[in-house]
């Protein structure tokens, strides 16, 4: 099972300071469509409000990302796609004035810095220095953008025909619910979590449930592809042997000791415990293939009917008393 839901671009409506009501304030995703030959304008650059050609375009990065009010994380791809848009624009329409507002430009990755230097060479103005403070609609239909330029060391203000907001990458709606259904855990920001950042990057805490792409966190296309191939390979390596190996560290119920109380059933995070009939009574049974070996059930069993192999109560108590007395 591979979960690859993709992401959701954050809506501009969250940013009242950037005049989201104006049709000429758009998100990068919308801008991408305007630039595309299969997009709503057939690839022609037009202002959404009146269909004229914009002469001054401002792009704003980190809208909703790296922002305590919204998301603390960096959406990772915005710097690069803003530069991509800038390059496309500048190559096609060199006379357009392009202003790119960045907190700082993050171009980590193969050939990315070169791309940045090249784009800057085309004449796109890079303005570094914190967040743009406001975008206001002017009576003449233009937009006033106010920001700060650290290189000048002073506030800047400019008039733009079109403002493009690089809004944050968000986990799509309902990912938490989806994760819950498959017993995969969600991180603080709402993306699904891998078991281990380095060693198990596509596995979730639920066995056999894998993740790929932006459902795990913001990432670009090459990374998404690499991850999806990894997920496919991991899935294949589970299926192809035709058998499943599981850990020896699992819990087991001694049915004769089990008092049928059932406390363990809802406690199991993996739904591995069921009640089944044994000698005319309902007794707990742990499905070893589902058990992940946390031991929560063994600690809770009032009849001590559950043995948690590898970490039995006797073993641990023995360790404790040895350590106390040594």
């Amino acid at each position: 099972m591979i979960i690859a839901t993709g992401f959701k671009p954050m809506s501009k409506d969250h940013f009242k300071e950037y005049s989201p009501q104006s049709p000429d304030v758009i998100t990068s995703m919308e801008f991408e469509r305007i630039l595309s030959s299969t997009g709503p304008t057939g690839g022609e650059l037009k202002r959404p409000s009146d269909g004229t050609k914009p002469k001054n375009i401002a792009m704003i990065s980190c809208v909703g990302s790296r922002d305590e009010r919204h998301h603390s994380y960096c959406s990772k791809v915005c710097c690069m796609y803003m530069l991509k848009h800038a390059r496309i624009l500048k190559e096609k329409y060199p006379y357009i004035n392009l202003y790119l507002f960045f907190i700082d430009v993050r171009t980590a990755g193969k050939d990315f810095e070169e791309f940045y230097v090249y784009t800057k060479g085309l004449g796109a103005k890079i303005i570094r220095g914190g967040r743009v403070s406001s975008v206001d609609e002017k009576p003449n239909g233009k937009l006033r953008v106010r920001g700060f330029d650290v290189d000048l060391g002073s506030p800047v203000e400019l008039e733009a025909d079109l403002v493009v907001l690089a809004t944050a990458i968000e986990p799509p709606d309902g990912v938490d619910e989806l994760g819950r259904q498959f017993s995969a855990t969600c991180g603080r920001e709402g993306f699904l979590r891998e078991v281990h950042t380095k060693l198990f990057p596509v596995e979730t805490s639920a066995k056999g449930v894998l993740i790929a792409g932006c459902v795990q966190g913001p990432k670009d296309i090459p990374e998404s592809i690499a991850q999806s191939r990894a997920a496919a390979a991991s899935a294949a390596s589970l299926i192809i042997p035709g058998k499943i190996k599981f850990e020896a560290i699992v819990s087991e119920v001694d049915k004769d000791k089990c008092s049928s109380c059932g406390v363990c059933v809802p406690l199991c995070p993996y739904n591995a415990i069921k009640l089944e009939t044994y000698k005319d009574k309902e007794k707990a049974k742990i499905e070893a293939a589902l058990c992940a070996g946390c031991g929560v059930c063994a600690s809770a069993c009032p009849s001590r009917a559950i043995t948690f192999h590898g970490f039995t109560t006797e073993q641990i108590l023995e360790q404790i008393s040895a350590l106390v007395e040594a």
């Binding site: 946390c294 929560v296 108590l317 106390v324």
Partner: protein, 140 residues
């Protein structure tokens, strides 16, 4: 009589606190030699009996370390831990044990420094409290 040295049992979750202890070691943070670590797969594995047994057999302090909420490798183990721990602690306090003798803390695998600090603070606290009053005595 030889100077009293505390004996502290730390029951550490394999995925976080135990890794934190490991990291503390590799980062060369030192923590007191009174600390003795028992590894469990998840803090949810900690039975209240582990703590009472440790106290009964003479441990001067018991520290349980687990993953931060939402970080439990087994999803919800640490929620069970805190419930059990708080109940047990209330019972221990009713029995006359000092509140600070048992402690539950979330320390992640990347918090080597926090591990060392917590251990140092806990050790100092136990030294201040003195030896376990019910050592070998009362049947808890």
């Amino acid at each position: 009589m030889a100077e009293w040295e505390p004996r502290i049992i730390v029951i550490a979750c394999h995925w976080c606190t135990y890794q934190g202890a490991d990291l503390a070691g590799s980062l060369r943070y030192s923590y007191p030699p009174s600390i003795h670590i028992v590894r469990v797969p998840c803090s949810g594995r900690v039975e209240p009996e582990f703590i009472t047994e440790a106290i009964k057999s003479g441990a001067d302090g018991v520290f349980v370390g687990g993953c931060h909420f939402g970080d439990c490798h087994y999803r919800s183990g640490n929620y069970n831990t805190i419930k059990r721990f708080n109940l047990l602690k209330r019972a221990l306090v009713d029995l006359g044990l000092e509140d600070e003798r048992v402690k539950l803390e979330w320390i992640s695998g990347s918090e080597g420094k926090k591990f060392a600090e917590e251990m140092t603070v806990f050790d100092a606290k136990i030294r201040e409290l003195g030896p376990n009053p019910i050592k070998g005595g009362a049947n808890v």
